[in-house]
């Protein structure tokens, strides 16, 4: 039933798109039809090696995202469990969280060059500062009775964090990470739009320069599909990874 509704929602969206395209004058420039975009997508794959671009983007996203999680998680844990660390780190993180990532691109080029590293850094700073408060707020919301239970069982300080706070928040933080992955994807595109030789964002900007609107939309649709796939790939093993998590 759920799948049926999902299919129907996509069907309706496609129908609306098709209708809008058919009433748009000069649709090839302003709003190509779904079929035209599908055709463009096929050409991109067959004639222009789109797969390499996709793999390059996936590589950049994966590295930047994993780095952000690896760095953001311990920091969020510190902030969430220790008032002293929170006083040190939280204001700084809140400041960094509001930095406009797109505006940082020229600076990041000056510091890190124009290779993959620069894109990875953009993804990293785009996601890590968002992930930290998500982790810390989850950790802060560990139910008091769980913590008390932990104390009763003899866990104190570090071991209480490891045995109580970390496992009880893990499923929720895993979901936060999944949401961050979406941001990582939007930032890789931002980075590739400005400076790249390959990648989905690079294909989009080149097509846009020469008003190949169908190609632009094919690139955007591709990102959406990759997003869906990544999301599903992260959702599926969740029950296995965290057997103690209960979801509605």
């Amino acid at each position: 039933m759920k799948q049926l509704v999902a299919v129907a929602s996509f069907g309706l969206a496609l129908l609306a798109w098709q209708l809008a395209s058919s009433v748009t004058p000069n649709a090839a420039v302003f709003l190509p039809s779904p079929l035209a975009v599908l055709h463009a997508l096929q050409d991109l794959f067959i004639e222009q090696g789109f797969l390499t671009d996709i793999l390059d983007s996936i590589y950049r996203v994966s590295v930047g995202f994993l780095l952000a999680i690896a760095v953001g998680y311990p920091i969020g844990l510190l902030i969430g469990t220790s008032a002293r660390w929170a006083a040190w780190l939280e204001p700084l993180n809140e400041f960094a969280r509001y930095l406009p990532v797109a505006a940082l691109i020229p600076l990041v080029i000056v510091w890190f060059g124009i290779d993959d590293l620069q894109k990875i850094v953009i993804i990293f700073i785009g996601t890590v500062f968002q992930f930290v408060p998500m982790v810390s707020s989850s950790v802060r919301r560990v139910p008091v009775n769980l913590l008390e239970l932990g104390t009763l069982m003899g866990f104190r300080g570090c071991s209480r964090v490891i045995r109580v706070a970390i496992p009880s928040t893990a499923p929720e933080i895993y979901d936060h990470a999944r949401i961050c992955l979406g941001w990582a994807w939007s930032y890789v595109i931002v980075a590739e739009l400005v400076a790249a030789n390959t990648g989905v964002g690079h294909v989009i900007i080149q097509a846009q320069r020469f008003i190949q609107t169908a190609d632009v939309m094919a690139g955007i649709v591709t990102i959406g599909i990759i997003g869906l796939l990544f999301d599903a790939a992260m959702r599926l093993p969740k029950a296995m990874l965290f057997p103690w998590s209960r979801e509605r």
Binding site: N26, F30, V63, Y73
Partner: protein, 332 residues
């Protein structure tokens, strides 16, 4: 402890991902040949002579190579030039002034092409001449070549920069905003120039074809590279000359190379190339002039320097605009 073990696994996985990159690039430059010139372009096929020179082996037979990367904005190009990540960029002459004002120490070594209809100003039919732009809403990208073109046209017509209402947006978006009827006029480029008629009261007011020599695509190289490799620069300009001459003899094959590189349908590539005139070495020589008798290039740079400073795009005119031109490239 399970979680700890798992986070360890995740950490190791991420290390593994960092370690292996899907597209393997040759790490070390070859010893026998000169290091490839690293050149960054924004997406514009006016720079195609270098692509042709590379594809047809005109670089290789001189022991040269070029690695082309893409940087779309002037700010990003400046950053990469300042860091020394790249040896040069494809620029317009007016952007060379902007870069110099940002502290980039570089020089123009070759003129790829002169825009010949590929850039221009679109306007509603009620606007008869440039002077009629006074008080009108003009879409353009501040600090980019279309803005420079408009400023130079206004100066010719005796108007000042503040006499028009600038609606700032990216150059391609300026074209689409005009066709969609949102602004009175727009400074934009191909393929939007040919789409002016898609707006019922739209027309082409003036293009680079009417005012040649103002919008030119140049190869702007870091001075350090030029000073370290003057012989290679001479060979590079010779290869570009050969590429342009070859293109004139083999336009069909040339257009195919261009279309393939810029990922464009062949007919679209042809239509866009029609808006530029590639320049060979002889034409470059005339355009450059000599250090004692500078040609049109120096004039365009001087006017960009003056107009950018008046319009506030650069804080002050650069001290020695003449130094932006490298006269030792063998094109004079």
């Amino acid at each position: 402890m399970k979680i700890l073990r798992r986070s360890l696994i995740v950490a190791m996985l991420s290390l593994a991902v960092v370690g292996c990159k899907p597209t393997g690039e040759a790490p070390a430059p070859q010893v026998t040949k000169a290091a490839p010139f690293k050149i960054a372009f924004n997406t514009w096929l006016g720079y195609s002579p270098l692509i042709i020179a590379k594809e047809k082996g005109f670089l290789a037979k001189r022991g040269l190579d070029a690695q082309v990367t893409f940087l779309e904005g002037i700010g990003e190009k400046n950053a990469a030039l300042l860091r020394g990540d790249i040896d040069g960029v494809g620029h317009t002459a007016d952007s060379a002034v902007t870069s110099a004002s940002a502290g980039v120490d570089g020089q123009i070594v070759y003129v790829f092409d002169e825009s010949y209809g590929a850039d221009g100003v679109l306007a509603a039919k009620s606007i008869q001449k440039v002077a009629d732009l006074k008080g009108k809403r003009v879409a353009l990208e501040p600090g980019f070549t279309g803005h420079f073109f408009v400023l130079s046209l206004l100066e010719d017509a005796g108007l000042a920069a503040k006499d028009i209402n600038v609606v700032s947006m990216e150059t391609g978006n300026a074209g689409s905003a005009f066709v969609a009827g949102k602004v009175d006029a727009a400074a934009t480029w191909e393929p939007w120039i040919s789409k002016a008629a898609q707006r019922s009261d739209g027309k082409i007011l003036v293009t680079s074809r009417d005012r040649p020599g103002r919008i030119i695509d140049v190869l702007f190289m870091n001075r350090r590279t030029i000073e370290e490799r003057p012989d290679d620069i001479r060979k590079l300009t010779a290869a570009l000359d050969e590429a342009v001459n070859w293109y004139r003899q083999h336009q069909t094959e040339g257009d195919q190379i261009i279309a393939k590189f810029w990922k464009l349908p062949l007919d679209e590539a042809k239509a866009t190339v029609a808006g530029v005139r590639f320049m060979n070495g002889r034409e470059n020589a005339a355009f450059f002039g000599t250090s004692t008798a500078p040609g049109q290039l120096a004039k365009t740079i001087e006017s960009a320097n003056r107009l950018w400073a008046t319009a506030g795009v650069i804080k002050a005119p650069i001290a020695q605009p003449g130094h932006l031109v490298y006269y030792g490239g063998g094109s004079n």
